[in-house]
Structures are given as structure tokens and as C-alpha cells.
Chain length 360, copies 2
């Protein structure tokens, strides 16, 4: 017996298409194993248009439309029999569709977190869960959004905001339940880790950056990655979500890698060490670091750090990400996995959806 | 508001005392954070005696008794006011106490899995959940026990059987839900990893083994560790629990490390490699490896393996354990953490208990 769980996708770019492919390929297996059938009932995308069908849209048709015309509203011509509405904007889709969960994957300004923040609020206010992969809203407004979700008795999930589908948040929040986390150290930005790995094999910073841009790891303006802003946003998320911090991005002591030279890299190598851009979050405690309480301060930094080769994070090469949690009962636990990617981030959404279903 | 959750501890050795210390130190924090109050209502230990008090025993008194006299039945003299029964054997404690969950941590024969298997069965048959840290019963009888638990609508948890409290089972079973695991490679035995790490710095196998014995990592008869039996049992657990295998320990192609010489270690080093005792589980698939189905075969091996230094498991040194899951949607995800220890295994039980409470 399977229960349907209805989804509205706000945005249908790379992540949304990855999710649709996963649901298409695995829908039957998920139904058999977890007893749930995910149904996409609505999509609203600024460029591709929007569709709503309360009984569910055909994922294969949607993916085919993106390949053919890029216009979702041609759906009716391929699949004419359904009760369809089209042209709804994102807020109407969120408020008026019959979705159980809103998957917020729209193009969002990382500085303001908009429009994703407004989308998530509208979801909660209309009694719907929200899953997010945009890191801005969580870095900027985690506490406010979490409280709004709790007030409306719905769930707020955002695994994809740190290390894509690698379950960094769920490991810290759920699987290490009962442990107190006193420190987190992570390689949270794949672009800079790729550049540093290239520099180890003798490439200059400028050449390694150009290579990263050529491979699509780095953007034309690489500032967000190389100056540590991206890692700082993720550090804030880990601090506030897993350690009950109250940090803003501006509170993170931040140094990027653009000042590192080949000579620095060689000097570390000669000393049996390796440079990594380490995001670090720690509690300066006079109390239990797992509790939000007066007197305990959570701080964060992002900076290039020389690690001995024996350190678990030193061996993490290329675009891979990793995160070490220092806990009271288990000591150090380290999770290593992908930090980006279409299917990987699509999976982040699926993992969150399965968690929502389990907790509903 | 907190809900009580009552526990019967079958065995009160290292792990049980570790758990009692954790509950004593963290009881209030757990109540505040998770809304549950764990109460030890019964203990039955072959050597220390047994106690039952339906409203709960005082953990501080129990720990003090172990330090002072080693006899639990002196409890009444220290804490005379309670309604106490004593002298119940393990099966009576399991069947007749008012515990919600039985924590099976008795001394158990790893070859037969007894008496733990009978304890767990008795728990399920009397409608109680069971948490286990003995690896024998899960390696020998996972399927039978899991089916019995399901038939009685109770939970069966055993995080501590692989990598102690490091959440190897929960990561694969729950956090990677939705992914299909096609292969698992692990360093699952800390003793042999310690010996191999010592050999890298020039110690002979015999000297490194003697050192491991002196430090308490290896037993007087080290066969179970150095010949790979311990790792093979854990491989069977991972195969059957996470990949729906049907393996027995005898099915594991197994080679230990006792034949490795310093010359072998040096040869690997010269080639930029490192020996690790790798437990490997893989699906020879003609289907979805996450589904138990005819035609799909899960196999396992344990053998010393030369890894390039860049491999995520190559950098795992000393008594630390690690496990790499190869998945369809995330590629490789690696978890590194402690593989043994009093508090670490005590935490394995706590993590399982919190999971039981969440799923009740």
C-alpha cells in the first residue's frame, strides 16, 4: 500500500530536472520500499512557465518538454487529457496547489536569499512543508524560518545547502543525536579544494583557477568561492542548525585562498603538510554546546590552514567535500562525499522528502 | 513534558556501565531536547546479580555498587526505600519486567551468538524492543531476528555491532535512504589497523602484535582479529542489513594479516601505497542491489589490500575504523570514526534508544 505525497517544484532547472529523473527512475522502488509515491502536481519556473494538475504531472513528458521547447505550457499538446492549469506564478502555486511539500529550487540571490525566503514562508503559512537547496535562505534566516515552520506544524529541510546530497545536516542533527558537538571542521567548497589540489601538482593559482573555470567548477567571477564567502555561508548554517549558534555571515572570520602562492604550497609540502580551505565552527563554552543558552558563544572562521598529511581532511582531494564533527561521546567522526552535482543535489531533495514522510 | 522509556539491561559490564554513566550525565539534557526520560528498571548480570524495580533504579547507586562490592544485590542496603525484586535470571527479567526495551549486552559466545540470541527472541516475544551490541547474533541470525521483531511490531537495533557508536548502520539504512548501495568497503577492525600502522613505521608483525596486546587492543589469542574473523562477521552484517544479502560468515572469502611481512609493507610504501585489511561487500547484480530479489548475488571478502595513498581509506590510521559506501546517486560516501571503546559503545546504545523513541 502506498500513500501519495504531492510536490510543487518552484523552479525547474538543473536540480529540479535531476530530481524528476530520479523520481522517474526510482518511483516504483521507492513505493515498494518506503510505501510512498511522490507525485509532482505543480511546477512554476520563471523562464519555462508553470503547470498545475492536482492529480499529478507526467515526469517523462516534463523532461521531454524541457529538451524540446523549454516551454512547460506545451504540456497540454503532448498530454491533452488532463485537467491542467497554467500560468500560475510561484506564490499562487505555493498557496493554491494541493501539494504537501514545496520544493524551493528557484534561482535565488545568495545575498538576499530572495525570492526563496518568501517562497518558504508562503509554504509554511499555507500549511505545507518546504525543502530547500539554495544556501542563502538558511544562512540568512534559519532561525526565523525554523520557528515559522514549527508554528505551522510543518517541516523545513535543507540537506542540499551543505555538501549537496552528502547527509551532513542529517548526520549532525539526527544520527549523532545524543552527542554534543563542540566543533565542526569542513572542506565545504569544492572549487577551492580543486584549485588547491591542482596547485599541489605544480600549477599556479591563476592557472588552476582558469582550469576550474574551464571545467565549470568556478564561475566567471570566482569571488564567492575563492574569497571564502560560499564556505562562510555553509559554516553559518552548520553553526546555527547543529550547534544552536546565532551567527550571521558577517560574523565569520574569513580569509580566502587568492593570496596563496605556489611557494606557500611547496613550503607546506616540504613540512609534510597540505593547505586546505577549512571552515571551522566551535563553541567557546561555559555550558553544553548543544543547547542554545546565554553564556555560550558559537564562533566560526574560514581560512587556508596547513594540515598534517595524517589529518582525515588532508586526504580529501579535488572537488570532494568533507566534514569532521568533534563530539563528547564519539570523539571525531568524519563524513566525506560529493559537494555538488545535478544528481547529487537532486538526491539531497529526495533524502529530505523521505525524512518528511517518515516524520509526518 | 517528558515520556518515560524503561530499560532492562541484560549484562552490566563495560558497555552497560558506559551507558549508565552517559544517562546519568545527560539525562536532563536528553529530556529537554528529545522529550524522553530513560529509566533503568532492571539489570541482570551473571556475575553481579540482578535487580528489578518497576519505577526505576538509581544509576549513581548502581555505579557505586560496582566500584565498591561488585554485587548489585547490596542495592537495598544503600537505597532501602524502594520496591525491589532481586535474583531474577536474564529470561525472567526480559519477560516479566515492565521494560519497553531490552538492552542485550551480556557476555556472549561469538561462535554461537548465545545467550544473546535467546535474549533477543524473548524480548520480541514479550513485546519489547531490543538493542544489541554483540556482533555474533546479527552476523549469525539477522534475518530471523528482524522478521521476529516485525511480527511482534517491535524494533531491533544494533548500531554497536559495527564500528561501535559510529553510525555505520544508521547511515546506510536510514540516512542514505533512496540511494542504492552497490558496494561497501571498510576498515572494520581496529586491532589489525593498529598493527598495520605500526608496521608502516618499521615494527615487525610480531612486535606490533605484542604492542597491541600490551595496549589491550588485541586479545591473548588474537586469531579473531588478525585472521579476519571479526571483520568477516561485520561484513556479513553490512551485507545482510544494508544490501539485503543472505550471507553467512563462512561465505566470506577471508585472508588475515598474519602473513604480511615488513618487506611487503616496504614494497607497498615504495609504490606509493599502503596495506589495509579491507572488508568488501558487493552486489553482482542483475537488478537493484537494494532489493532482496532472485538473480542478485551479494558477496563479501576480507583481505589485506594495497591502496593508493589518495584513497579515502588509506589515510585512516591506528585503531580508527572507516567505511565507504558506493551509491548510485551520490557516488562514494565515506564515514570515519571510532571502532571501539566504553563510551563509544555506550553511545551506540543511546543512539539506538533515541531512534526507537522517534519511531515508536
Amino acid at each position: 500500500m502506498t500513500t501519495p505525497h504531492k510536490l510543487a517544484l518552484i523552479g525547474f532547472g538543473t536540480v529540479g530536472q535531476g530530481l524528476a529523473e530520479i523520481l522517474l527512475a526510482k518511483g516504483d522502488a521507492l513505493a515498494a520500499r518506503y510505501g510512498v509515491q511522490f507525485q509532482v502536481v505543480a511546477i512554476s519556473d520563471l523562464l519555462k512557465g508553470s503547470l498545475y494538475s492536482p492529480d499529478g504531472l507526467d515526469l517523462a513528458v516534463l523532461l521531454e518538454l524541457v529538451r524540446r521547447t523549454g516551454k512547460l505550457e506545451d504540456y497540454a499538446s503532448l498530454w491533452p487529457s488532463q485537467a491542467l492549469s497554467s500560468g500560475w506564478d510561484s506564490l499562487r502555486t505555493i498557496r493554491e496547489s494541493n501539494a504537501d511539500t514545496v520544493v524551493e529550487i528557484s534561482w535565488t540571490d545568495v545575498q538576499t536569499g530572495q525570492p526563496a525566503i518568501d517562497h518558504v514562508k508562503a509554504a509554511f503559512e499555507s500549511g505545507k512543508n518546504a525543502v530547500l537547496t539554495n544556501k542563502g535562505p538558511v544562512a540568512l534566516a534559519y532561525r526565523e524560518l525554523a520557528e515559522l515552520a514549527a508554528a505551522h506544524n510543518v517541516q523545513f529541510r535543507f540537506e542540499g545547502t551543505v555538501m549537496s546530497g552528502t547527509p551532513t545536516i542529517r548526520l549532525g542533527q539526527r544520527v549523532l543525536a545524543g552527542c554534543t558537538i563542540s566543533e565542526i571542521k569542513g572542506i565545504l567548497n569544492g572549487t577551492t579544494n580543486y584549485i588547491l589540489t591542482q596547485m599541489e601538482s605544480g600549477q599556479s593559482y591563476a592557472d588552476a583557477l582558469a582550469e576550474a573555470q574551464r571545467l565549470g567548477y568556478a564561475e566567471a567571477d570566482p569571488t564567492a568561492d575563492v574569497e571564502g564567502w560560499d564556505a562562510a555561508g555553509k559554516a553559518v548554517t552548520l553553526a546555527n542548525v547543529l550547534m544552536d549558534g546565532e551567527l550571521r555571515v558577517a560574523d565569520v572570520a574569513r580569509t580566502g585562498i587568492s593570496g596563496l602562492t605556489l611557494a606557500d604550497v611547496e613550503a607546506a609540502k616540504a613540512a609534510g603538510q597540505r593547505w586546505k580551505l577549512i571552515a571551522r565552527v566551535w563553541a567557546e563554552a561555559d555550558g553544553d554546546a548543544s543547547q542554545r543558552a546565554p553564556g555560550r558563544i558559537v564562533r566560526a572562521s574560514v581560512r587556508p590552514t596547513r594540515l598534517p598529511l595524517s589529518h582525515p581532511l588532508a586526504g580529501v582531494s579535488g572537488a570532494v567535500n568533507a566534514c569532521t564533527y568533534t563530539t563528547d561521546l564519539l570523539g571525531d567522526v568524519t563524513l566525506v562525499g560529493p559537494g555538488a552535482g545535478r544528481m547529487e543535489t537532486g538526491y539531497a531533495v529526495l533524502g529530505d522528502l523521505l525524512e518528511i514522510v517518515r516524520n509526518t
